[in-house]
Each structure stands twice: as structure tokens, then as C-alpha cells.
């Protein structure tokens, strides 16, 4: 049984359709990235999963329990976008509240802050924290009690590159231990390396839901081949492979996925005219645009 199952979930705000017939599941240990423009329905979907708002129709189950039920809430942790806390409390005090609410020993607060790299600041008031520090407190509270489902809304906004890497290594540990992770992000390059599956929302429709490799195949976007040539051979190479000369030593060509090996064989046939070859697959950004556009057209 998947940890999280949404089937045919629909939600409207007044006459504005926020989610249309969305069906999605996340298995234990799976990391799923939810992508979409602002207003595509990501936060609405997350709030429905968390039981903060009700869906108009469709069913949502977390380990078999309906969203928002005590069992579902016990199994789920959430890190909201731009997470906020009471400024008068210290990081430790804030975490102790959350530990008590989950029935966990308050002594864990120190370890949790240590784990997100905030050990030293735990006794200072959150009012004096930077955005990145608040985000770490947010992550620390999401780790309480080994959640079975983790919902993260733009979790790395406000974090520097090193903190992002630490953040994803914590997520890896959790996923390794069986936590199902649903996260939304704008940082596509990050998501590309750190998730198992990508779900794209566009105008409330789920327009893609697959691994990156499969999406790449389905989108059938052209692959770019960059050829570094000998300085005196750039014209000849460009002519023989029917590519485009970029500068004095580089030629580019594009090809379809199923044509890739044929084209590469042609390049290899050029022998020592070529110094190096680089194959650039379509980026997640291009794939994302491809599917988002398809959704917008519907």
C-alpha cells in the first residue's frame, strides 16, 4: 500500500478551479517532486493532503487513514513555505512544544537542533534568527518522531548551497528509512538530482507523473551534441555532420533520442578532426516547460 494516495481529487475556490481530478501516490521511501508555476495548485494539493482544507471531491488516504484524521496527522510531518514561529521563544523551547505535541521526550530537542546545524543558536530567541535558520528549525520539527510521510513546501528557499546539500542528505537518510517524501520546489536543478519521481501540475491538472528518464523519453526533446574540433577543421566538421558552427573550435548539432547513436557514429567517423564530444540531454527545465505547456493548452 502506498503511504500517500490521492485519487481524483478536485478543488475549486469560488469559480476558480485549483485542482482537477488529480490522482497521485507516494510509496514508502520514495521522493516525489511536485513542480508547477505559482498558482498551479501545489500548495493547495499539499494543504489538502495535510487536512488543512477539504477537497470538493475525490479521496485522500495516508496509510489508509483519511487526511486530517488523528492517525494521518500522527504519521505526517510538514514544513510550510516560509515557516514561522513565535519570535519570543528560543529554538529549543519551540521544538519542545512540538515534541510534547507528538508525545516524544523533550530531551530530543538538543539533538534535533544539532542535526540541522543549529546547536549553538538553540538558546537564542527565534525573533533574531535569519530566514535560513528558521527554515532549519522548520526542518528539525519535521524530523520529530520519524514521520512516515513528509510534506515539504519549497523547503530549500532561503538556504545557501551548502545547507541545501546537508538538507538533501537528511532527506536521503529519511527516505532510506522508509519515509515517503512529497516536496515542491522552484529549484529544478536541485530536484533533478534529489528525487525519484517528478509530478508536474499545470492549471490544476497533473500533466506529468513519472521518473525523469521516462519523462525525458516521452517528451522526445532533441538532444544536443557539442563537438570540440581541431582549430583548422571546424568548417569541415560542421559541413560533414550538418551541424552549426558556434565558434572557432566548436560545432553543435541536435538529434532525436532514437537517432542518437547513428549521429554519434558519424562524429566518431571524423577521426582526429574531433578533439572531444559532449552530449547534453534536455534539461529538466526544458522538460518542465514541455509538459507545462501541454497542460496549459488543455
Amino acid at each position: 500500500m502506498p503511504t500517500l494516495t490521492l485519487s481524483q481529487v478536485t478543488k475549486s475556490f469560488r469559480d476558480q478551479r485549483a485542482l482537477s481530478d488529480v490522482t497521485l501516490s507516494v510509496d514508502a521511501g520514495e521522493r516525489v517532486a511536485l513542480l508547477g508555476h505559482n498558482g498551479a495548485g501545489k500548495s493547495t494539493l499539499m494543504k489538502i493532503v495535510l487536512g488543512l482544507i477539504a477537497a470538493d471531491s475525490g479521496t485522500i488516504a495516508i496509510l489508509g487513514s483519511p487526511q486530517g484524521s488523528p492517525a494521518a496527522r500522527r504519521a505526517t510531518s510538514y514544513l510550510p513555505e516560509n515557516v514561522a514561529f513565535h519570535p519570543a521563544l528560543t529554538g529549543l523551547e519551540q521544538l519542545r512544544l512540538y515534541l510534547r505535541l507528538r508525545g516524544e521526550p523533550v530531551g530530543q530537542a538538543v539533538d534535533l537542533l544539532e542535526r540541522v546545524g543549529l546547536g549553538a543558536a538553540g538558546r537564542r530567541r527565534i525573533g533574531g534568527y535569519s530566514k535560513g535558520m528558521r527554515q532549519r528549525v522548520g526542518l528539525a520539527q519535521a524530523l520529530i518522531g520519524r514521520p512516515q510521510l513528509l510534506v515539504l513546501d519549497e523547503p530549500t528557499s532561503g538556504l545557501d548551497p551548502v545547507s541545501r546539500r546537508d538538507f538533501y542528505s537528511i532527506l536521503d537518510d529519511l527516505a532510506g528509512a522508509g519515509t515517503a517524501i512529497l516536496l515542491s520546489s522552484h529549484a529544478l536543478t536541485e530536484v533533478e538530482a534529489q528525487t525519484d519521481r517528478i509530478a508536474i501540475l499545470s492549471n490544476g491538472l497533473l500533466v506529468a507523473n513519472d521518473s525523469l528518464a521516462s519523462l525525458r523519453r516521452r517528451a522526445a526533446l532533441p538532444i544536443q551534441v557539442q563537438i570540440a574540433t581541431r582549430p583548422d577543421a571546424v568548417e569541415e566538421v560542421a559541413r560533414r555532420v550538418a551541424g552549426t558552427r558556434v565558434n572557432g573550435t566548436r560545432v553543435e548539432l541536435t538529434c532525436r533520442h532514437d537517432n542518437k547513436l547513428t549521429r554519434l557514429a558519424e562524429v566518431a567517423g571524423l577521426g582526429d578532426l574531433v578533439e572531444d564530444v559532449e552530449i547534453v540531454p534536455p534539461s529538466l527545465e526544458q522538460i518542465y516547460h514541455h509538459f507545462s505547456k501541454a497542460g496549459a493548452a488543455q
Partner: protein, 273 residues
């Protein structure tokens, strides 16, 4: 239960840190001290002990101060969480909205209980120091203390309801002050105007007593002034107010504290995070 305790511990810490505990204690202590100093009137002429006299004065003080302090502590409870953006995360935890509300209530009522205890203790010690007979007034003081907490509970509940309905703390603060003005000041003025205009007619005899009972602050005053002989002698309470039994007034204050918390719970339930 653990949810209520967790929220209460956290809220009390916030109240301590935001100086709310200190402010409430100082306000109550200051007014009680001023009242004791000014109230050294000749109690012998009335044949009343000094503490009963103090209780009568404290009742008039508490009617204004307890609702005000309660409303000021409560107005931010839900609107503040909404404004800061802390509410959605809290609501995803395995804790019900009623537990969140009751946790805040326990912390705020505890703060009030502490402040009122300090204030009344100062006034009582001053009375006991100057009059050996003052121990006679201790039961009246105990009644005043417990009903002050009930009055505080009613206005905390009202404050939470206002806080849940108002989207922003600023609006909630304004509405809380307006509620205080209407229930504590204007309500009595309106009743007074009614009684004067009626000149001993049907309104004064049959409607007025019930209107007094309907307002928790008036019921609180009625109960404390009528429940002991000493205090009623000290205030010369008479007329329409004496037609109402103190027991009924007590029931009114207690009922309002439960109704107000119920209203707050209902208002909080319809808040969309």
C-alpha cells in the same frame, strides 16, 4: 490532555517573556494598593469589618480590570497565530483545535489567577494589619477571588472568539476594546438611563433585574455585593438588585464562562488556515 498541557506550558512561557505576567501582576497590585490606601474610611460607623469593606471596593475594581486584562491577553491568541503564519503548521500536529484553545486558556487563566491573587493579597494584608476583626471578611474575599476567575474566564473566552473572527490582531484589539466598553461601561449606563426614564415602572421591577443577570460583569458585582452581609452593608446595596438571589447571579457568571469558551471554540473551528 498532553496537547492541552503542551500548549499551556508554551503559552505561559510566552506570557512570561512578553511581560504579560509582570504587567498583569503590577496592574492588579498597584490598583489594590491604591484602593487600600484610599479606602481607610471609618468602617466603625457602618459596623463592618475592614476586610469586608475592602472586598466591596475590590469588587468595583475587579469589574473593570479583570475583563480588561483578560481581553488584552486573549485578543492575539488566534489572530496573532494567523498573522505570524504559525497556525497552519500547528494545525497539522496531532492536536485538536479545542485542545489548542484550552491550552491557551489554561495559561492565560493561570496568569490572571496569579495577578489577582497578588492584588487581593496586598489589599487583604493591609486590611488585616489595621483591623483585628477583618478575618470575618475572609470568606467574602475567597468568594470574590473565585468569581473573579470565573469573570476572567468569561472574558478570555469572549476575547478568543473575537480573535478567531477578526482576521488580524489590530482588528481584534479594536473589537476587544469595543466589547469592553459596551459590556462594562455602556451597558450599565444604558440600564441606568432605562431605570431613570421608567421611574419605578414595569421595566425597573421585571426587566431590569434580568438584564443585570444577563451581563456577566453585573452578575459578578451583584453576587459579591449581595452574598455577604458585611459587603452589602458596606455598599448599601438595595432596591432592584436585592430582588435577585446571589445564587442566580453566581450561576450567570459561571454559565457565561462556559458559554464564552464554547463560542470561542465554535469561532475557531470555522477559521481557515
Amino acid at each position: 490532555m498532553t496537547g492541552i498541557a503542551a500548549i499551556a506550558i508554551c503559552e505561559f512561557k510566552i506570557a512570561l517573556r512578553n511581560r504579560w505576567v509582570a504587567i498583569a501582576v503590577v496592574i492588579m497590585a498597584l490598583f489594590a494598593a491604591v484602593l487600600s490606601a484610599a479606602g481607610s474610611a471609618p468602617s466603625g460607623e457602618l459596623g463592618v469589618d475592614k476586610l469586608s469593606l475592602t472586598v466591596a471596593s475590590l469588587t468595583s475594581l475587579a469589574v473593570y480590570l479583570v475583563p480588561l486584562v483578560a481581553l488584552l491577553m486573549a485578543f492575539d491568541a488566534i489572530s496573532g497565530e494567523q498573522e505570524r503564519g504559525t497556525l497552519p503548521l500547528l494545525l497539522t500536529y496531532p492536536v485538536s483545535r479545542l485542545e489548542i484553545l484550552l491550552g491557551k486558556f489554561v495559561a492565560h487563566l493561570g496568569t490572571l489567577a496569579l495577578a489577582i491573587a497578588v492584588g487581593y493579597a496586598i489589599a487583604a494584608l493591609a486590611a488585616l494589619a489595621f483591623d483585628g476583626e477583618a478575618v470575618q471578611g475572609l470568606p467574602a474575599l475567597a468568594r470574590l477571588y473565585l468569581t473573579s476567575l470565573l469573570l476572567g474566564a468569561a472574558f478570555l473566552g469572549l476575547g478568543y472568539a473575537i480573535s478567531a473572527v477578526a482576521a488580524r490582531p489590530g482588528a481584534a484589539a479594536g473589537a476587544a476594546i469595543a466589547a469592553w466598553l459596551m459590556l462594562i461601561v455602556l451597558y450599565d449606563l444604558a440600564l441606568l438611563a432605562g431605570v431613570v426614564a421608567d421611574d419605578g415602572g414595569a421595566f425597573t421591577r421585571s426587566v431590569f433585574p434580568w438584564l443585570l443577570l444577563a451581563n456577566p460583569a453585573d452578575a459578578f458585582r451583584l453576587y459579591n455585593l449581595a452574598a455577604s452581609e458585611g459587603t452589602s452593608a458596606a455598599t448599601g446595596l438595595g432596591g432592584a438588585a436585592q430582588t435577585i438571589s446571589p445564587g442566580l447571579a453566581l450561576v450567570s457568571v459561571a454559565a457565561w464562562s462556559v458559554i464564552a469558551i464554547g463560542l470561542a471554540a465554535a469561532a475557531f473551528r470555522s477559521v481557515k488556515p
